[in-house]
């Protein structure tokens, strides 16, 4: 249920993001999802990739500052009300969401969540019969 998301520190320098993607591209690692959290001085690149362990190694060898963060992924129909439901379940349980992002796969959507308490979040979502995606399935996308 826990998905390994890659986080990479990006200095506010032109070309850094390109270099990251080129590094992953060199071994044909697939990127399932990508987002950049930015401030004026630096950014954190977050990615779901097909082989997180290998990707981390590759990036570290290229002197990037990388970490693996545990996130949860849920499959839901591609409608706002379902996304809202997921968020409501968590807030009812006082589980705070650090960040979230989503993308569509056909008529479904995949929602990625980073929560203050991953275990509690998984339990809450399961109790409400939400469809959690296995990490291995996500990496195949």
């Amino acid at each position: 249920m826990i998905v390994h998301q890659l986080s990479v520190f990006l200095e506010n320098k032109s070309g850094r993001l390109t270099e990251v993607l080129e590094t992953l591209g060199s071994e044909s690692i697939r990127v399932t999802a990508l987002s950049v959290a930015d401030t004026t001085e630096f950014g954190i690149l977050r990615m779901i990739v097909s082989d997180p362990a290998r990707a981390k190694e590759l990036l570290k060898n290229r002197q990037f500052t990388v970490n693996i963060t545990d996130v949860i992924s849920i499959m839901a129909p591609n409608e706002a009300k379902y996304y809202a439901m997921v968020l409501r379940i968590l807030s009812d349980q006082d589980i705070s969401i650090e960040y979230t992002y989503a993308f569509s796969v056909g008529e479904k959507s995949v929602i990625i969540l980073r929560c203050s308490d991953t275990e509690a979040a998984i339990k809450a979502l399961k109790d409400h019969e939400m469809e959690l995606i296995k990490a291995s399935d996500l990496y195949k996308l």
Binding site: S7, F9, E11, I44, Q63, V66, T69
Partner: protein, 423 residues
Amino acid sequence: MDRNELKKVQSERLSETVERVYFNVPYYRSKMQEAGLGPESIHSTDDLHKLPFTTKQDLRDNYPFSLFAVPMSEIVRVHASSGTTGKPTVVGYTRRDIATWSEVMARTLTCAGADRNDFIHVAYGYGLFTGGLGLHYGGEKIGASVIPVSGGNTMRQLQLLVDFGSTVLACTPSYALFIAEAIEEAKIKRDQLKLRVGVFGAEPWTENMRREIEQKLNIKAIDIYGLSEVIGPGVASECMMQEGLHISEDHFYPEIIDPVTLEVLPEGKTGELVFTTITKEGLPLIRYRTRDLTRLHYERCRCGRTMVRMEKCLGRSDDMLIIRGVNLFPSQVESVLLEMSEIKPHYLLIVDRINNLDTLELQVEIDESYFQDKISQLQSLRQKIQTNLESALGLGIKVTLVEPKTIERSEGKAKRVIDNRKY
């Protein structure tokens, strides 16, 4: 004064000073004894070369008051400026020292053509730094009207310059340019200002900068020199000829040495400026190494004064920087960073001058093991570094986190500073 007469006066004062430090300052007594010297070894300025040097490190080692030659009850003023690492350099003044300081500052202002009819706008910082109060006492001594504005709040500075009709401006040269630009932007017209002359110091500045200031503010820009350890501003000042700064050598005896061999250099050679205070009571200093590089000229000046002149300082023999008039040693930055485990002490200081104000940026590498996934964590780290540095240095600084291994390593002494200022 005839130079032979002057030498007699200097020698007498030097003997008195050596006696004073020998009997009152344990640090000097032991240094002299180690060198096999006593007060009787020094009869004239010709004997000065026998005495040991004093450095900023010695002041730091004797922090705060161990180098004072009088009991604290005699000290009526204490000032401080930046030291090489955490500790400031502390200086102390007796009542007579304050009178001496006022006297040499009065000379400085008189050299710049100021008198009792002038309004002096003092925009040097008031506080522990010697700039503001130094100018203040000098101004009062000549009977001028002193306006103790201190630094900052440029809009108010402009308002006062216009409303009070100040005739003399005292601040750092870069602040003078900053004010000049603010005046232009505020569309204040030339005839609204009554400025005639400016006394600028506390940082190095070139002839180019002088021309710019003179042209923009329509004033004569006079270079003044000083350092807190010797007394503060007032050690030397240009006269209206602007051909070198007259040193008050009846109070501060200058020598030029080779910074490497420590030999005294012959007249006219460029080297490091060394001062021996010959009238100070509170903190007399023997052969204090300023680290400023310059050259001395003993010929009579066109203004008529015979006091030796030093050229505008050409640089330093150490790594000290002056940012907005404040001393900064890279090692100060290092000691703050070393106390923080979240970063590696690989850093780069970038100094620049934007819109005539010095800017300081610190690039520092994050420690890989510290990086997690939270923006807020990195933000607060950046803020923490900034806060720690600002309180240690007394200077605003912009902190940029950079990726590990991006700052150049070198085999010898790492290049820690990039100074982009061209002045």
